[in-house]
Subunit: 324 residues, 4 copies
């Protein structure tokens, strides 16, 4: 039996990736797509390679009170745009909010699916984690839970492909200015920090004081790597072992001895984590790689949707990464 | 019932893409992978994101006389390396040769799947077309068959991503020298010309004299576009109409009014074709876009394999293109 | 003695490249820079690496009637924006218009500097050629003048880096959508065609009927290649010889036997031309490579300025290309 | 009076950039170029855009005992290849070794030109700093000298373009595998660490214990950024002020309030440094940007050569960065 699915925010990169994944999902049927800049077009006008069965679907103007009969809605709206609107969606419609408005908000479950799937099953309102938090928290969770890294004074040096800056017309993200350019930004002030600090404290059972987060824009379309520096006296082997045990039953997290590369995850819902430690120096380095639009956004959202719909967690997410 | 499949040439880009597609194919079970540089490794050592069920498969040294029990073999070997070796594969093993050694060779069927699927069904030895010929012939077939373009004096200006130059260590294809660089090569002498001329003549029922083919390396990993200039008095609308009719029942060819872009096909088995004509100038422009590793290599090979195995032609090939 | 120079359109890519070249020109002193989006900033705010001597220059709002005392003005304005405004610049100020409004307009000299420097010397109003015409005409001029190619039925398949699409916020030129994408556009209708047809006819002494021009956007920042197909019975050697003779005394045009690559010209004012011919097929292929912002825009403009100011033609333009 | 200059290692990226800079240097005359893979070719065969005056120079096979009459030699050889060979160069020939063999070696001066030019003047054997150390030490020097950062426990998260991995045929640096890929490597073991630790200790007057250095390969040709995390209680403003004072008379270091981007330095000899600090958290972040082939290699080498030859420090290095 198919689940009737809608996407709002189809014009953006997160919405587009959700479309790609839903189109080949064995249990989802896309019946509604809404967008701002593309309303009135058919899907095939925006996505020339969309499967034929969806080509003619007309993109609606987003109106939470004029939805068709839906079981599930994916929302991928700009920050600030979803809080009020999603409150008007009928209660019977399950929602996964890919945007940032509902993270650690009452009535919504923070959907860190690889770490706590059991909290997500059975819920109906899921706040998908941000792309930087996903990579960071997936790498840190086994160490925090196992007491192998201190929750305070963690430094996250993060690097994302430019699709992470969203679609839209800022010339800073134009090809000619972004290509052959590496850009740090938002030092000591990034919006993702509270979400990370809250989760770190939760996992560690202690405050994540002094968290530092420095994001950089890398000249590539997709991909996200965090290189995390923390304090701890575990060895590299102990960190790897803790992660292997923690994720032994989880389908999407791969623990590797080699430092992970962003291309390993491209187009997939995988996360790669690895570690390097120097106990004499009281140093633990944790690394996490995801596709910022996959595990960092739409892939993770589909995983959350599978959990809340009672489907196999991996449904529609088994595609291997694209290489090269 | 699953079909037991092998890949030889797993280290290269074509072999790697075959692996990705076979890994999520509903009827194929990968039981054998062989390579030169990677023999002795496990699949996961070379492809960190490979599905877990295949992770531990050991890469064999290629030996056509030491194959396991196989139903189907995909060969992706360098030019010159497959002719002798594939002759030693047992007759009962179906073969799709992604490499160039068997195109228009006796005993092998030239597998231009979107144009003549009926010739492929029931065969056991398929020579997959080259990436440039696929894009070219898919764009030209409706015009040639319909008499809308002359078979002589066709000019093909072709552009491919750098994965088309194959893997391996030539510093000309190194990142630093290829990036921000557009390189024409092989003027008036490219190896793909006989294959194209033969097929054009066959489709048109007349000689493809004076064929010109100019390939260019474009600084991108994947993607292939041909811009073809020929003589004819049809209008743009007549060309589009001919192509729509020709491909009406074919699942992978999309006829578009907009000039197609390579990203439309990325990661998929789709081909996009479009046309612009100026009857007063006796000019027809045909354009074809494919992913050079998808429809231009491994995707096409899986399509051919579906045809010779009696499977639905689209099995395992329904994934939408990756965007952006 | 230094020449007092201004730039209008400093915010765009052409204006920025003009700034770079003027900053190290031995006879030019930049005293005025005007722009739209950047008015009120200092040069260093927009160009963090600008030489210290220019860092504090304030960017003015463009007003042709409020110019400081100037000898020479470079204009790099969007199409349609310069015609009216430049008419109000005092007569005593020499102008090189990098934009397209004055090409083949009365009172302005079409500044195809490598082909007809003698027409440019002594003039005061120069229309700089477009980037595509520069590469095309530089490659074709020796053949047209020598009767080695027919002026009719020439097909120009052109490829440009994305800076050729100009700055500004169109999301089509955003990094995520342009990267790994090759995009044909403007088939049978591009704005540069009349400029090319007029010059071809002029050089050949016969009409350039049936000219075909197909531009493509290539995922690289800078660089432009034209691959030109025409009719003629000369050999490759005869074409090369004609070009060597034609450009023997010209400092910026290099005739090569290898097909030229765009990176060869990057950051320089050089043009590379090469040829491949098949007399039996009545075919001549000409290739031209430039940096679209160098010889295709600002470099060419400085060369024109040198000519009209009575300076050595190569002043400020002797920098070798950047490699890799 | 011109200085007779040679380059050994002309085939590599560092040697090529040295060629570009020397070709337009007002006091240098290139009379000798040696390389391994290119011996026997003319310069123009390897560098199609080389200035005409140098085009015909034949590339010699490197032999330190068969040098022409030289005043100055730039060596850009692989690690391990220069120690023995350069010992055989006649004493009267000044040497700048761009390679790594002579850093902190007796008889050689470590040429950190922006920090200690006075130590370099008058010397004849200069070891050019590595690309990562240049960016790191230029950013840290004002803080270390001023006591604004502790010399211990510094974490350097470094990102370089792929030309930093050198030329040559490793397929890991091939376009298809490096593009759209971000790769950490060499964790806790990079060869540049002793050079950095020694200099940090020297500048701070205290041991650089616990230094951490994590390099990453970024998919771009040129550019290098270090993001450095250290301990200190200075404010952002104090750090900026210290750097402005420290570099007030130095021509190539720019102190910026905005986080610097790699493109700001592209093709130039500039270094950009910036800072962000949080005294309450005992945190100082320092950032340094260079072009890894410019200030990180050949540009720095020319600067050192200017210093040892008694020329103006900026001779031949005044070109503004290439943008975009």
């Amino acid at each position: 039996m198919s689940i009737r699915v809608g996407i709002v925010g189809i014009s953006g990169f997160g919405g587009g990736e959700a479309l790609r994944l839903i189109a080949s999902h064995p249990s989802f049927e896309l019946v509604y797509a809404a967008g701002e800049s593309s309303a009135g077009s058919r899907l095939v006008d925006r996505f020339p390679g969309v499967p034929s069965k969806l080509a003619g679907l007309e993109i609606a103007r987003w109106d939470p009170e004029a939805l068709p009969d839906l079981d599930l809605l994916f929302a991928s709206l700009p920050t600030g745009a979803s809080a009020e609107a999603l409150a008007r969606v009928p209660e019977g419609v399950k929602i996964v909010d890919i945007g940032g408005d509902h993270r650690y908000v009452d009535g919504w479950t923070y959907g860190l699916a690889d770490v706590w799937p059991e909290r997500i099953r059975g819920q109906t309102r899921i706040a998908n984690p941000g792309c930087f938090p996903v990579a960071t928290l997936t790498a840190l969770a086994p160490l925090l839970v196992g007491g192998l890294i201190e929750p305070g004074n963690i430094v996250i040096d993060a690097k994302t492909g430019i699709s992470g800056a969203g679609r839209g017309g800022d010339s800073r993200f134009g090809y000619a200015e972004s290509n052959e350019n590496l850009q740090p930004y938002g030092l000591l002030q990034h919006v993702h920090m509270p979400e990370m600090a809250t989760t770190i404290a939760h996992l560690a059972g202690g405050a994540a004081e002094g968290l530092v987060f420095t994001p950089h824009l890398v000249p590539m379309t997709r991909g996200l790597l965090v290189t995390i520096y923390g304090r701890g006296t575990a060895s590299t082997g102990q960190c790897l072992e803790a992660a292997r045990a923690y994720y032994a039953e989880r389908p999407f997290v791969r623990v590797t001895e080699r430092p992970p590369q962003t291309k390993w995850a491209s187009g997939s819902n995988l996360a790669f984590v690895s570690y390097a430690a120097d106990p004499e120096r009281d140093l633990v380095i944790a690394m996490g790689v995801v596709d910022n639009l996959g595990k960092g956004a739409a892939g993770h959202a589909v995983q959350n949707a599978n959990l809340i719909c009672g489907l196999p967690e991996t449904a529609g997410l088994e595609g291997a990464p694209v290489w090269p």
